[in-house]
Every structure is written in structure tokens, then in C-alpha cells.
């Protein structure tokens, strides 16, 4: 009965993302426009080398932000990603430098990420500590552990089998960029096309309804943080492979960068709806911005200021879109009024 073209289009793109595609289109245009503007202002921005550089820098933020998309869509937040990344990388780096087989070292990094993520998830799902508080506490404690392990130490000198992950290229495309791209596609599939993704969106949207429908809400919530931990390990691995070093202070302020990417992308801070595609664009936008500021010689401290302002603007736009700002909701109420009017047949 319904129009078939629309059905096949939605199947091709995926349900949850279809609606976001058009908003994603807007963000795509913004990202391209910014790239053009930066190129016009400073030709150095527009070189292939710099372009590859931006993408490579964006790669680990993309990977971690894809994980954060699941966390925020589940109506959670994870402030501990930067500290977790630091702890994982100093331990992993140390073990591998001490002679452990790189593969085993990497496995331990993932085990640490998944294990600590699982602990955070249990604190949130079973002990009912609000995600903000649980991950704030984890953020501080994990940073403390990283400092206990390696305060004042700079680790460097990984085997080339590992640095290839961060520095190598395939047919001229940097390996981290390929990994990030493949991972983002996987994340989008997981989000829109699997039971797990649907359940994450359901518990973020209405936990009680999800429970009544038979969704194992606590298990899904714990799994979200386990996944976030594993993804943090992956991002950390690529990061240390790229810079071939790590220290206990690595990943400071990373959480704000990652959360900013997710929110700029259009994922609702209130849970339930999100978009992996938008997150990738958000991470790209931030990396471009940072890169342009660096090229323009703007101080790092100013970059932090700009980042904070971008987050505030992104949330404000999101609230506008979701009609959470009362005074403006009257102006923007056209759509729901229409649908009510149609339904009542007048």
C-alpha cells in the first residue's frame, strides 16, 4: 500500500539514519564549505599532505566518537575515555617495550579496555550510579592509575609491526584513515541494522518501555560501556602507533573533543536517537578546525576555548531542532500541528 520507492530507499540506507541523512546532508555541506573557506584563507590548508594529516588526526577521534555515539544514544555519557586511553596505552606500551609479544600486548590493551568499561557499565546499570558521576569518578581514578604507573615517564620506541598501524599507508591512503573508515561503516551497521543497536536506541529512548518489551536493559547498558572500553583501546592503539610514544597525560580533554563530535553530528544528548554518519562528520569538522587554527598559528589555549564554544553551539542547535527551547518551539511547531490536523481530518 505504501509507496514502494520510499520503502526500498529506507531499506538501503537504514531506518534510524534515513531521517538523519537529510540533516547529515546539511552537516556535509557545512564541512565541505569550511574546507573551502580554510583553503581560500590559507593555501597551506589545501595541500594533499595536510589533507591526509587532517584525516589521520581525525581517525582516532572518529573511532572513539563512534563508540560515544552508542553511549550517548543509550542516554549515558562517558567522561573517562581520555583517562582510560592513557592507562591502557602506558601499560600496553610498557609491556611491549619490556619484550612482550606485540600481539599479546595489544590483546592485554583490549582486555583492559573491555574490563574497565564493563566495571563502569556495572556501576551504572546495577549500582545505579548516574553515568555522569560514575564516569567522572572513573576519569579521575584512571588518570591517577596512569600517573602512578608512569608519572614523568615518556614511553617511546614501538616495533615497526605496530607503528605501521599509525604511520603506514595502503595505496597512498594512511592506514589509520582506512581503519577509521572501516570501523565507522561497521559502527553504522551495528547502530541501525542489528538487534543490539536497536536495543541501545530503545533503552535510551524509553528504558521502561524497552524493559516491558523484553529488552534486557541492564545487559545492553553494560555492553555499551564494554564496547566503549574496547573502542578506546583501539583508538589508543592507533594513537600510540602514530606518534610512537605515550605518557600518563595523553588523552587529556579528549572526552570533550569526542563528545563534541557526537553532538555536532546530531545525536541527541537526551538519548534515543543518534547518527553514526553525523558523528564522523562532527569529528572531521573538529579536526579541520583544529588544523586550521594550528596552521594559522593560533595558540593551543585558544583552541580549547573554541572547542568549548563549538560544543555549546552544537547543543543549542540540537535543542532547537528537538524543540526543547520553549520560546522558540512556538515558532517551529508547524510540523506536529499539521499531523494532528490531518489526523483529525480537518
Amino acid at each position: 500500500m505504501q509507496n514502494q520507492p520510499a520503502a526500498s530507499l529506507s531499506n538501503a540506507i537504514g531506518h534510524a539514519d534515513r531521517r538523519w541523512l537529510f540533516k547529515g546532508l546539511g552537516l556535509t555541506i557545512v564541512v565541505i564549505a569550511l574546507a573551502l573557506i580554510f583553503s581560500l584563507i590559507n593555501p597551506r590548508f589545501a595541500t594533499i599532505t595536510n589533507f591526509a594529516n587532517v584525516l589521520t588526526q581525525a581517525s582516532y577521534y572518529i573511532i572513539i566518537a563512534v563508540g560515544m555515539t552508542f553511549v550517548i544514544t543509550s542516554a549515558g555519557i562517558d567522561l573517562s575515555v581520555g583517562s582510560l586511553l592513557a592507562l591502557i596505552t602506558v601499560i600496553g606500551f610498557d609491556l611491549i617495550k619490556a619484550g612482550m609479544h606485540p600481539l599479546l600486548g595489544v590483546l592485554i590493551m583490549f582486555a583492559l579496555g573491555g574490563g574497565i568499561g564493563g566495571l563502569t557499565g556495572l556501576l551504572i546499570a546495577l549500582v545505579k550510579i548516574p553515568p555522569f558521576i560514575a564516569t567522572l569518578a572513573m576519569m579521575v581514578s584512571l588518570r591517577g592509575l596512569a600517573l602512578l604507573h608512569s608519572a614523568g615517564n615518556m614511553h617511546y620506541g614501538l616495533p615497526s609491526s605496530l607503528t605501521w598501524l599509525g604511520q603506514g599507508d595502503l595505496l597512498g591512503v594512511p592506514v589509520p584513515v582506512i581503519i577509521a573508515f572501516v570501523f565507522a561503516v561497521f559502527g553504522g551497521w551495528l547502530f541501525n541494522h542489528t538487534k543490539f543497536g536497536l536495543h541501545v536506541r530503545a533503552i535510551g529512548g524509553n528504558r521502561e518501555a524497552a524493559r516491558l518489551a523484553g529488552v534486557p536493559v541492564n545487559l545492553v547498558e553494560v555492553m555499551v560501556y564494554v564496547m566503549m572500553g574496547l573502542i578506546t583501546a583501539l583508538g589508543g592503539l592507533i594513537m600510540i602507533a602514530r606518534i610512537d610514544s605515550t605518557q600518563a597525560t595523553i588523552g587529556t580533554a579528549m572526552e570533550i573533543h569526542v563528545i563534541a563530535a557526537v553532538i555536532i553530528g546530531g545525536t541527541s544528548l537526551f538519548g534515543g536517537s543518534g547518527t553514526v554518519y553525523g558523528t564522523v562528520l562532527g569529528a572531521l569538522l573538529l579536526s579541520m578546525m583544529t588544523n586550521a587554527l594550528v596552521i594559522a598559528g593560533v595558540d593551543y589555549f585558544w583552541q580549547l576555548v573554541v572547542m568549548g564554544v563549538i560544543v555549546l553551539i552544537a547543543v543549542a542547535i540540537g535543542n532547537l531542532r528537538e524543540r526543547r527551547i520553549p520560546t522558540l518551539s512556538h515558532v517551529l511547531r508547524r510540523v506536529p500541528e499539521d499531523s494532528v490536523a490531518n489526523d483529525q481530518g480537518r
Binding site: H15, A16, L212
Partner: protein, 257 residues
């Protein structure tokens, strides 16, 4: 056997005998006995606190009764959890609806009962097209039209959301649907559509118990009307052979005239 409710062949789907439920000293449901016929619409009316909600919660497996028995198709059943009720073919539409606003229509209908396919016969993924097709099928079968299935249900009106919630129930093999005030907070036209939907459920042979305060709806819709007062069942009357005044009298005075 008894009156032969409405235009449907009256065979008993559910028999409730001597059901009792107390909260502290209060007998919320007091020795209630009644039958639900196959494919009938039975309205449950009464003042606030008459015990209607407690009674249907017992039938939906939400609160186990203290004593009494429930039979379905002559088989005695124990309804201790909502899952038991579901297994017995009883679906319950809660007042809070239980929809996830951010999900679209098929996702809401199939939440917790997702259809999946396997990529290369290995990796499971959601079968969006089959869920969508079955949702359309289900909506068609009951004459429901929703303008857009791919939108989050928060964009739908109250009545449309109500039909989505009902579709969730119909997806299972339900034989009895319990609705607590399904027309509350709906506009006139939307309320009428929900009434139509309830009627088409009856045509499919599904029995419906409707709690309602709106006697106008009750008289439009129900084959029989069960009246409760102070936890007791005052009586069950056929809609065609009673009047509004008589029912109001039963609600108010607790006596069948």
C-alpha cells in the same frame, strides 16, 4: 449456555471464578466471577476505586490474585507474570502506552521480538524490510492507516500512537486484549478510529475487555457491560437490553434493577 452476547457465537474464552485480591485490609477485588466470550467486546465500568484496574491487572499477570481461578478454553491457567499472560494469549494495553518515542513504527511494533536475517548465513542483522512488510500487513488487516512508518513515533498524534501500541499486541497471537481507557485524551475523530479498530479486532475473533469512564463510548462499542462497585461485580448486562440510566444506577447504587 447463557445470553449469547451480541452477534457473535457465544462460546466462552475465559472464565473467572471467585477472584479475590486485597491490599492490606482493603478488598480491591472481592469474589468476582464472570465469563468473557470469544470475540466479544466487554466493557468494564465503575467509579474510581471500584476495583476495575486491580481486576484487569490480575488478568494481565501484573498482580497475582489472592484466590480464585482463571480458565482459558476450559484450561486452568496461572497468571503470575506478564509473560504468563502473553503465553496464554492475553495482551494488555497500558495507559502509559509503552512506546519508545525515538523509534519508528516497525521498530516499536517488533521491539523485543525482532525479525532477523543472516548475512552470508552467519552474521545476524535486523530484517527491516520484513518487519516493515509485516507491520503494513498488520495495519492493513485492521484497517489502520498511518501516514509514515519511518518516522519516530513521537511525530505521530495521540490516536496514531495508540494504534501503534495496539499493533504491538496484535503481532502476538492474542485472543484477549485488555485496554485501560484506550480513548482517554483523544479527540473525537481519533477516538472514533480507535473504536473502529477495537471493532475490527472483534471481527478477527479477538475478545476485548475495555475499561472506560465514557458511557457513550461504552454503549457504542460493547456487546456486554460489566459493572463493578467497591470491589464486587454488580452484574453483567447486554448492551442491547439495557439503558444508560440502568447502568448509571448500577454504578451508583451497586444494584441490578
Amino acid at each position: 449456555m447463557d445470553e449469547g452476547g451480541g452477534n457473535v457465537g457465544a462460546t466462552t474464552l475465559m472464565r473467572v471464578v471467585g477472584l479475590q485480591k486485597s491490599y492490606g485490609g482493603l478488598r480491591a477485588v472481592d469474589d468476582v466471577t464472570f465469563d468473557v466470550h470469544r470475540g466479544e467486546i466487554l466493557a468494564l465500568v465503575g467509579d474510581n476505586g471500584a476495583g476495575k484496574s486491580t481486576l484487569v491487572k490480575a488478568l494481565a499477570g501484573a498482580h497475582a490474585p489472592d484466590s480464585g481461578s482463571i480458565e482459558i478454553d476450559g484450561q486452568s491457567v496461572l497468571l503470575r507474570t506478564p509473560r504468563d499472560a502473553e503465553a496464554a494469549g492475553i495482551g494488555c494495553l497500558h495507559q502509559g502506552l509503552g512506546l519508545v518515542d525515538a523509534l519508528d513504527v516497525p521498530e516499536n511494533v517488533f521491539l523485543g521480538r525482532e525479525l532477523q536475517t543472516r548475512i552470508f548465513g552467519l552474521i545476524p542483522q535486523l530484517d527491516h524490510s520484513r518487519m516493515r512488510a509485516r507491520t503494513i500487513e498488520l495495519l492493513d488487516r485492521f484497517g489502520i492507516h498511518l501516514p509514515k512508518l519511518n518516522e519516530p513515533v513521537m511525530r505521530l498524534s495521540g490516536g496514531q500512537r495508540q494504534t501503534v501500541a495496539i499493533s504491538r499486541l496484535l503481532l502476538q497471537d492474542v485472543r484477549l486484549v485488555i485496554m485501560d481507557e484506550p480513548m482517554a485524551a483523544l479527540g473525537v475523530e481519533e477516538g472514533r478510529r480507535v473504536l473502529d479498530l477495537v471493532r475490527s479486532m472483534r471481527e478477527e475473533g479477538i475478545s476485548v475487555i475495555v475499561i472506560s469512564h465514557n458511557l457513550e463510548h461504552v454503549f457504542q462499542l460493547a456487546d456486554r457491560i460489566a459493572v463493578m462497585k467497591n470491589g464486587r461485580l454488580v452484574g453483567v448486562v447486554e448492551t442491547v437490553s439495557t439503558t444508560r440510566d440502568a447502568v448509571v444506577g448500577m454504578i451508583t447504587f451497586g444494584q441490578q434493577h
